[in-house]
Subunit: 153 residues, 3 copies
């Protein structure tokens, strides 16, 4: 059995930003020499996500609009009446009493999940034609770590 | 260490359809001969999900109604005022500018996740009494692939 | 390759309760002797979740308020108008026709997921500074099982 671990640090320019990381995961698998196995790709923070979806700018913009409605940030005005009612009652997240302002990023992390497992077959990421791996930053502008861990042979 | 990989193709009659796949995953584990390990069950498309839940027709119908409200399709009228406000503003998903009409299926995929890991113990799927594995198609009527990958010994 | 399996049974006093289980997962890894690998931590019921998030009372209370709005229980009044419209139409979950009253717990389980994978590096859980593992009970007051399965070497 072989294991191989790679860490990557993101420091996004924007507070919310999607970074396509399929090449990083591929590179880690190449380094490991694993031909058959699984790769765990997991955010090490609770205000970011890792997901597999389409690398199409329209859908990425759609997801941000939608996530802001169902897990509304309180550092900007609610997107509409639904976002207003899904905001904490009354007014602000309890999490913000300690000075934080990223409560929505925690909810988004829970909603879309902080990790994926990608199968490795014959030395390649065994993804479907449209599947791309993304690191999704919900509270950036500071260093945030992610782990890539490969297990196989 | 043993690995074993099985692909399954679904071609559902309905656009949205839930297929119970516990027997497929069991068969793949039997074929592999693995006694202790993990099985990854993962959709290879970004408009379908794999989940573990109850095989009870009521809850399956409940999930579809609910998913259509929080990730509303734009190819039919919004289910109610909440679905209308959770729809993209204004009008339609940006993803649909290229001619697609499955933006909601992408959001549903992110929401309920495209994969599960099932533990294998003593050669059996180590599931709780009510846990059944489902492939959940959100944009079917065409061939869609899923991977079952077993790792263990 | 080493595998090690531990079951834990929860019997929470409250219907909904979050239990921090990082020490349980650490103990299972210690017992296994695994230095490099992965741990699957997975609820064996379809009305509970396992997630990784902050151990901060404010955010935990925020998540419950928010989950009750987007996956509303029908055994208490809807939290507000959004929760009312996200409730099944008309009135109650189809799942409740058989006498159950935990339809919302199924939806919450799908939403925040019933499992996580934690990487193990140099014999330790390889978590970020704020990442804690929680068992999240949505329908307790009865025995519910969870599996911890370690795979590595």
């Amino acid at each position: 059995m072989t294991t191989h671990t790679v860490y990557r640090t993101f420091h996004t320019r924007e507070r919310r930003e999607w970074v396509r990381i399929t090449p990083d995961v591929e590179a880690a698998v190449d380094e490991s020499g694993v031909r058959e196995g699984m790769v765990l790709v997991s955010a090490m923070h609770i205000t970011a996500a890792v997901w597999v979806n389409d690398d199409e700018p329209g859908i990425l913009a759609d997801t941000l609009e939608w996530l802001d409605k169902i897990a509304p940030p309180s550092w900007k005005s609610p997107a509409n009446d639904v976002a207003r009612e899904l905001s904490p009652d009354p007014g602000d997240y309890r999490h913000h009493r300690g000075g934080e302002d990223n409560g929505d990023a925690h909810l988004k992390n829970l909603l879309v999940h902080h990790q994926v497992i990608v199968p490795v077959t014959e030395g390649e990421l065994d993804l479907g034609p449209w599947q791309q791996i993304f690191y999704c930053e919900f509270d950036g502008r500071r260093p945030k770590r992610m782990i890539i861990k490969i297990l196989g042979e």
